[in-house]
Amino acid sequence: MFFIKKLFSPKDEVVTKDQDLIPDTKEKMSAEFRKRLHYSTDILENQVGSSGITIFSISTLIDKTMFHQDIIDPIKNLSFDSIQNVMEHLSVGEIKQANQMEKVIKSALDGDVIIYLAGETSVLLAKIPSRVGRSLTFAENETHVIGPQIAFNESLITNIALIRNYIKDPDLCVEDFVIGSRTNKSGSILYLSGIASEQMVNTLRQRIDAIKIDGILDSSVLLQLIEDKSLSLFPLMLLTERPDRVCDLLLKGKLAVLVDGSSLAIVCPHSFMEFFQAMEDSNVNWQIGTFYRLLRLIALFFSVFLTAIYVACLTFHYEVIPQTLLVTLSESRARVPFPPIIEALLLEFFLELLREAGARLPTKVGQTMGIVGGIVIGTAAVDAGFTSNILIIIIALAALGSFVTPSYFMGNVIRVLRFPLIILAGFWGFYGIMYGFCFLLLHLLRQSSLGSPYLAPFYPPRFADWKDSIIRLPLSFTYKRPDLSRPENENQYDPIKAKEKN
């Protein structure tokens, strides 16, 4: 763990109270302000007309138009004797007072302008941040055919607004926190009070408070720091870009964490099974939803085990190959120079390369990449006697299987899992596969998400929650919130009334 400790740089020594006071002359203030920001060139110092007011700010962080219209214009022709008077003339929404230099600098970095009047012990902080960022767009990583198409963007305020728009409930709590001794990112914990478990909110709060790190740029990094066990391969909390998904889970009593500058929300606790559920399952009718879920589960099985089974059968257990397949299989294998394990690993490696290249390259090139790769691997490799064509089908099936997983993070895990399983199968055949499976089972059983069992609702068995796990029953049956999030209020809606309507 020593390397993580290194990451937590010791927090700068807190400046003693006397040094932290607002200087009483303009020159001293100016010098202090510049010194603390290390004489950056984007420091802006404005002498406003004859009023005796000086405005300090970081020019790159503030909105220039607002600065002139709402701050300079109203006060430039007036004169003030106290800082309180200034406040009355400003038409900015968010104004605070501060009397410590530390706070002043922090808010300057947040996009505040500092309104200073010589001799006063406090200054005014007016928030006029410049809007750097993009507008709301379609969800691109978690696309759905049916359902809202909007995704989060990088602004915390917008993201909270999106959620507030879905859940117009006074019980929706937003708790702020700041993280990173250098990045000073603001973030929020969201939950529905009265539904979400108080104990879990406390745990989450404690975990976030306990983080001592210099900088976090994205919620995916925060996720790694607040997960139950950081050594597990599996994602123990959900990262999603869809506000509707977050709201659905909030209603089930879960907690969400949003970080400014990140377009992904963390939702916890999240169980293994829920990674294979998509919002779309609840947007279509229950039979189709169930079908999708079963499809994904079978895909999961194929994706993880199929290549390994191929390798095991061809390396050790030729007896199990059915007679009808035997001739085709051995004919296509006859020209391949490598043992099955190398053949499979090679092809899997190719496929991973293709996928990674597709993700890294610009979109237009990426598409041609797929076609080229498909042709090269699909036909040329077989013609050259490099691989058997049955393996191509199997690998393609396995790849598809990993892509249908709604969570990108879980999809990654599935793809990575294949490699150790192929190796185990190549060395120990079926025993290796079974060994890998047992290890995975034990591993999953040991995991927890925010203290809740990861394999819920299967173990510990909560039979009532099975109704919305690998299958989805109609809404009139699934009125209870899952036990996973230990909700304070169990019923999502009145079962009797829900049944009447359906």
Binding site: H317, P322, Y435, L445
Partner: protein, 370 residues
């Protein structure tokens, strides 16, 4: 040492999980080949032996829970301590720990033997025992909640096996059962006695008991668990008698696995290869529960840290597993154990119950005197 042992509330288990614990711990390596051994004694009435043994198990389970209920929340180590006093109690605890380790070794060895005979004749023993031990250690360090989780999944994930009973059923002639009661009482009882190795596993109740919630319901769930495994045994026994002709059954070492040889699916020709390796999941809870029970015993009676004993025991088992390396040695090992296990699992609980009752009577009498 305290008699009462109250685990932390978060490690308590729902009482209905006892069904899975008992069933998973009973059904294990034994069901590979118990039919032959019983058939040797009781011929086609072997299924009656299975029923008799099952009935005896119900009685013993009833007594075990009665014994535990005398003391409330405790396990066998606590009871030993209470009943026999400090030193004798420790001796009995050591014997029980030894018993757990022995049965662990037995299961491990028999499974490795099956693996070597059916699938990997050339893979050395140490490799199998080493790899399985690692898995078991990984599981046991996860704590009892996790071990019970494995019990649950091991049963839930092996239900598919029942589907394949349909295949041998087509070749089954239940006429082999006729005439019923051809054997006299003695061979049937002998057959039931031979069930010991297969049917044991319910004695884990002695150790798991303090970890269960709602202790008053345990009696019911324990019996459901035992009944479920009895059903499995009976089914497999009937199937084996019907599927094999007498001579065939006598010469088949693992009738249950041989039953699989007939299954033929469009995509997999020989399911038994998969079934043999799949058994890893079925014996895993057995191994984990017994090792856990042994390790807990050491903690309870000698106060040595669980982690240390775990590694020591694992090393011991690994070393011993290397010495028992031929079929004959394994058979002898099984036979010695079976005769001891019979007294340990079927007779001893009754004795312990009697002692516990006596002790309690004495205690209350003493208190009254005061």
């Amino acid at each position: 040492m305290k008699v009462h042992y109250q685990p932390k509330p978060q490690s308590l288990l729902s009482s209905f999980l006892l069904i899975f614990i008992i069933q998973a711990n009973q059904v294990g390596i034994g069901i590979h080949g118990f039919q032959r051994v019983i058939f040797m004694e009781a011929k086609q009435d072997g299924w009656i032996s299975v029923l008799v043994a099952g009935f005896a198990t119900h009685i013993v389970v009833f007594v075990i829970i009665k014994t535990l209920q005398i003391y409330g929340s405790t396990d066998i180590y606590g009871i030993h301590h209470e009943v026999y006093g400090k030193w004798l109690g420790k001796l009995f605890n050591s014997l029980y720990i030894l018993y757990c380790l022995w049965i662990f070794l037995l299961i491990l060895k028999n499974y490795i033997e099956v693996l070597q005979t059916w699938v990997f004749p050339t893979v050395p023993v140490w490799l199998f025992s080493f790899s399985i031990l690692l898995l078991v250690i990984y599981g046991v360090t996860g704590g009892i909640r996790m071990i019970v989780g494995v019990c649950f999944f091991s049963i839930a994930l092996s239900l598919w096996i029942f589907v394949f009973i349909v295949y041998p059923l087509r070749y089954t002639d239940f006429g082999h059962l006729l005439p019923v009661m051809e054997s006299s009482l003695v061979p049937i009882l002998k057959g039931a006695y031979k069930m010991t190795l297969t049917i044991l596993g319910f004695e884990i109740l002695y150790v798991i008991y303090p970890y269960m919630e709602k202790k008053e319901k345990l009696q019911k769930y324990a019996h459901i668990g035992v009944a479920a495994s009895n059903f499995v045994y009976l089914l497999l026994m009937l199937l084996a008698i019907g599927y094999f002709s007498p001579g065939q059954l006598l010469s088949t070492i693992w009738p249950t696995l041989t039953l699989f040889k007939i299954v033929k699916l469009p995509f997999i020709e020989r399911i038994e290869y998969f079934a043999v390796t799949f058994w890893l999941l079925i014996i895993l809870p057995n191994l984990m529960l017994y090792l856990w029970a042994a390790v807990r015993g050491v903690k309870q009676s000698f106060g040595i840290s669980q982690k240390k004993t775990l590694w020591v025991f694992a090393t011991l088992i690994f070393v011993f597993s290397l010495f028992i390396n031929t079929r004959i040695k394994i058979n002898r090992f099984n036979d010695i154990f079976a005769s001891l296990a019979f007294y340990f699992t079927f007779c001893y609980p009754l004795v312990l119950y009697a002692f516990a009752l006596l002790k309690k009577k004495i205690n209350t009498y003493k208190e009254q005197m005061k």
